[in-house]
């Protein structure tokens, strides 16, 4: 009879399966752990009013991310460990931290790619509220300052269909700029954003780029957007440091977009000659 295993075959199968599991479980239990140092600060708790680093040794599993590690640490060791996180798949932008000296999304960073002990700190150049949580309100202010929404009031409707079409080329042009998840890594990495708090910052300028370069908005709106960007603390503050481009978890060529807008502003002003 086909399909029915003999008792011997069944026993062998079970044995093989167990043999495969053993090393993985062994590694986990035998103390393959990862050492993380996490920044702690809590103004409302005695002993945490001065920032310090806490050491955690988290059991390692293949494919583990930094987010997995801090969640484990919080769930198993210290439930007061506080940090933002949500989607765990690099689309919500909540868990941008300063990991081993670089801005990264915790859910997108593999433990195995990092040198231990892994230093996990809140984003630099922002005020720390508690542990790894920073005050993002300045970041949001700058984003809102560029009117990050579609403004098509002046765009003439197309026939009776009222459908505004975007050419494939135009979509390609702005494609990368649409990927921003507002994580704040770029602004945190920019030295000018750190020094000059009126600087719009790479995220806001990129957002403006996304709309300014979108053909579906009218020329008047584009000019209006450029006027915001060409203020003293707009695009001109960018010193092409490229740190933003390097840390963006969505690989947006931020510096390039800012440069393009600088050129646009210059061209627009030269036209009056």
């Amino acid at each position: 009879m086909k399909g029915v295993q003999s008792p011997q075959e069944r026993r062998l199968e079970k044995k093989d399966a167990k043999a495969k599991e053993e090393p993985a479980r062994k590694a986990q239990l035998e103390g393959e752990t990862v050492h993380i140092k996490v920044f702690r600060y809590d103004p409302e708790v005695e002993g945490k009013q001065e920032p310090r680093f806490d050491d955690f040794h988290v059991p390692f599993e293949k494919g583990m991310t930094v987010l997995d590690a801090v969640i484990y640490a919080r769930d198993e060791y210290d439930s007061s460990l506080t940090f933002r996180h949500s989607c765990r798949q690099a689309v919500c932008g909540s868990d941008a931290f300063f990991i081993n000296g670089r801005q990264r999304l915790a859910c997108k960073t593999q433990i195995s790619d990092l040198e231990q002990p892994i230093r996990i700190e809140p984003l630099p150049h922002q005020e720390v509220v508690k542990d790894l949580v920073v005050d993002m309100s300045h970041f949001y202010d700058q984003m809102h300052a560029v009117e990050p929404y579609f403004q098509d009031e002046d765009t003439p409707p197309v026939s009776d269909l009222e459908e505004q079409r975007q050419s494939r080329e135009n979509r390609e042009k702005i494609k990368m700029s649409t990927r921003c998840i507002w994580c704040g890594a770029c602004m945190s990495s920019c030295n000018i954003a750190a020094g000059d708090n009126e600087y719009l910052g790479p995220a806001a300028i990129n957002k403006a780029y996304r709309f300014a370069m979108d053909d579906r908005e009218s020329e008047e709106i584009k000019e209006h957007r450029l006027r915001i960007l060409e203020q003293e603390h707009g695009v001109w503050r960018c010193q092409t440091q490229f740190s933003c481009t390097e840390v963006c978890p969505k690989d947006i060529p931020l510096t390039e977009h800012i440069q393009e807008l600088k050129r646009e502003a210059v061209k627009k002003n030269l036209k009056f000659w």
């Binding site: 600060y41 103004p43 409302e44 920032p51 000296g101 670089r102 630099p124 150049h125 005020e127 720390v128 509220v129 005050d135 030295n191 750190a194 020094g195 010193q239 092409t240 440091q241 490229f242 740190s243 390097e246 060529p253 510096t255 390039e256 440069q259 393009e260 600088k262 050129r263």
Partner: protein, 153 residues
Amino acid sequence: MSQSYNRGLIEDFGRWKEFSAGMWAWIFHKFTGWMLIGYLFTHIAVLSTAIGAAQGEEVTVSAEALPNVDGTGEVSVDIYTATLGGLEGLVIVRVLEIGLLAVAVFHILNGLRLLMIDLGIGLEAQDKSFYASLILTGVITVASVPTFLAGVF
């Protein structure tokens, strides 16, 4: 959120090992820029002795000490020649001139790199072009040492 901890900028320079190429470029360009503007003011100040020289102001100097004065013993030269000669006669000044060269060359080369970036050329290689400017600055500086220190030792 009544209290928050502001870590400020100070911690940044402690992390110099983590700086990227673009960040070093920005720091060096600023540093060399400050040096050069400081030098420009000093340079015009020193050259202002030309006004005195044009009006016939002269001083007595020792011809051996000044590399730009021929002859021997005590001679009378215009104040411009005397000042420049006096400075050029000092070894430390000759060494500082090499430093000035390095500073100016780096600022020029990185400046060219920045002009390329502003024109949108070669953005993919921006970090490599910074390293290239550093190396080229070193090469040019070292190559110029013989000329700059000619006649000093």
